[in-house]
């Protein structure tokens, strides 16, 4: 059990680093991390499937951004090899003086080729 949870931590962190690196430097490539069954709830708005999710993320009202991660917590989900990840951090936008704080939850499912895709994605800004 100890070994399994360490593995989940390593995978969760590696995935999160990869995700935000793509988001900040090559946002259109995020499509590779979603599939037709994926779901995103972004500030309460629900979007389904890789095409619509990509579209949503590519059309957010800012060109450049930088995610800075504060915490990453991972656990095995009830599925064969699935992982749930809770992230908290800050989002720096060029036009904004202060970074926005956010929380995000991912449910990652293993792919055939040994990687993971995002089956469930929730994003919320933390105000106040």
């Amino acid at each position: 059990m100890e070994v399994e949870s360490c593995h989940v931590d390593v995978v969760g962190k590696a995935f999160v680093d990869h995700y935000y690196n793509l988001f900040d430097n090559d946002r259109s490539s995020l499509a590779s991390l979603y599939q037709p069954t994926s779901m995103l709830t972004f500030e309460g708005q629900k979007t389904f499937g890789v095409t619509d999710i990509s579209c949503k993320l590519n059309n957010l009202p800012f060109e450049k951004c930088k995610h800075i991660i504060s915490t990453v917590d991972s656990q095995p989900s009830a599925f064969g090899g699935g992982i749930v990840v809770l992230v908290s951090g800050s989002l720096q936008l060029p036009a904004e003086e202060h970074p926005l704080r956010f929380s995000q939850m991912f449910h990652l499912i293993p792919t055939q080729d040994g990687f993971f895709f995002v089956q469930n994605d929730f994003f919320r800004l933390n105000y106040g």
């Binding site: 059990m1 949870s5 779901m39 709830t41 309460g44 629900k46 915490t71 917590d73 656990q75 095995p76 989900s77 009830a78 599925f79 699935g82 749930v84 809770l86 908290s88 704080r101 929380s103 939850m105 449910h107 499912i109 089956q119 469930n120 929730f122 919320r124 933390n126 106040g128």
Partner: protein, 123 residues
């Protein structure tokens, strides 16, 4: 019941129990359940409830700001993402928090918490 309404009902029940009868939370976890509380990992209903009942405050009040939910996959599980405030007795300002639940259905038609991750959101 529609999933969003179910998620909201579960969350209200969870925090109501947390705030008034913390030991009763044992009914919402099982042996395989996992909690990560501010980075500390705990497994199993008994250990989880021991952790929650020994937190360094007697009284608290959760107030929920947002609840988002999605189905987690083919087994009927639900992912629930909550943000809110935690008011502790004696503290002037409420603490902001985020919490993630992965709920699994029980044979009796209810849900239990399989995954639980809690983080305070500092300014």
């Amino acid at each position: 019941m529609d999933p969003d309404a179910l998620a909201k009902a579960f969350v209200e029940h969870y925090y109501s129990m947390f705030d008034s009868n913390r030991g009763g939370l044992a009914s919402l976890y099982q042996d395989g359940s996992m909690l990560t509380f501010e980075g500390q990992k705990i497994q199993g209903s008994q250990n989880i409830v021991a952790k929650l009942t020994s937190l360094p405050f007697q009284q608290c009040q959760h107030s929920i700001t947002t609840v988002d939910c999605q189905p987690s996959g083919p087994t009927g599980g639900m992912l629930v993402f909550v943000s809110g405030n935690l008011q502790l007795a004696g503290e002037q300002h409420a603490l902001k928090f985020s919490q993630m639940f992965h709920l699994m259905p029980t044979p009796q038609g209810s849900f239990y918490v399989y995954n639980d991750i809690f983080r305070l959101n500092y300014a």
